[in-house]
Symmetry: C2
Subunit: 118 residues, 2 copies
Amino acid sequence: MTRTAVTSRELPHPERDEIRLEGVLHALSDPLRLQIVRELAADGGELSCSYFDLPVTKSTTTHHFRVLRESGVIRQVYRGTAKLSGLRRDDLDDLFPGLLDVLLAAADRQRARLAGRG
Amino acid sequence: MTRTAVTSRELPHPERDEIRLEGVLHALSDPLRLQIVRELAADGGELSCSYFDLPVTKSTTTHHFRVLRESGVIRQVYRGTAKLSGLRRDDLDDLFPGLLDVLLAAADRQRARLAGRG
């Protein structure tokens, strides 16, 4: 069985039982990080940072992804030269049942509400 | 009909439609603020700040309550000499259905999980 090479550059991630609700909420309390999570959830797979069209510098983007990774919300792996990110849905659903779905629904609802004002 | 006097000292609160998901998540991303919200939810009514036995100074306690108030999570009113706090459950349930209950359940679950390690 062949797999795309995962290089030896490993990024630090919390184990499942090291993930804390407070850290997850902090990670999602930023509008750009919430947007990243919404897009990852909509895709359902792994996306490169460059996929995201965020109105901030590259270093700020990297910072936001690091906060998401270190809080346990996303997993990042290098595949070849690309750094790919995916939601840790299984871990989050196991630790905090229903939380991710309710949060994503709340974000959708707020987006619709604010757009409706336009 | 008599009511306990609410003094003219009014505290600033966001209107319901000014409450933002990101602000609510930020407010709940601190362990002490999350504890305050859990206790308010368990009580269901209004509690004085002095009810809470938090391991921080009075000014830090006041800060945490202000963050909760300014994000729209709690409402604070003066009644006589007491400043009472209550969850804005109706507003939060209306804006973000299910969010508060899922968050409280997640906090309970985490507490049980971490206590189980002891």
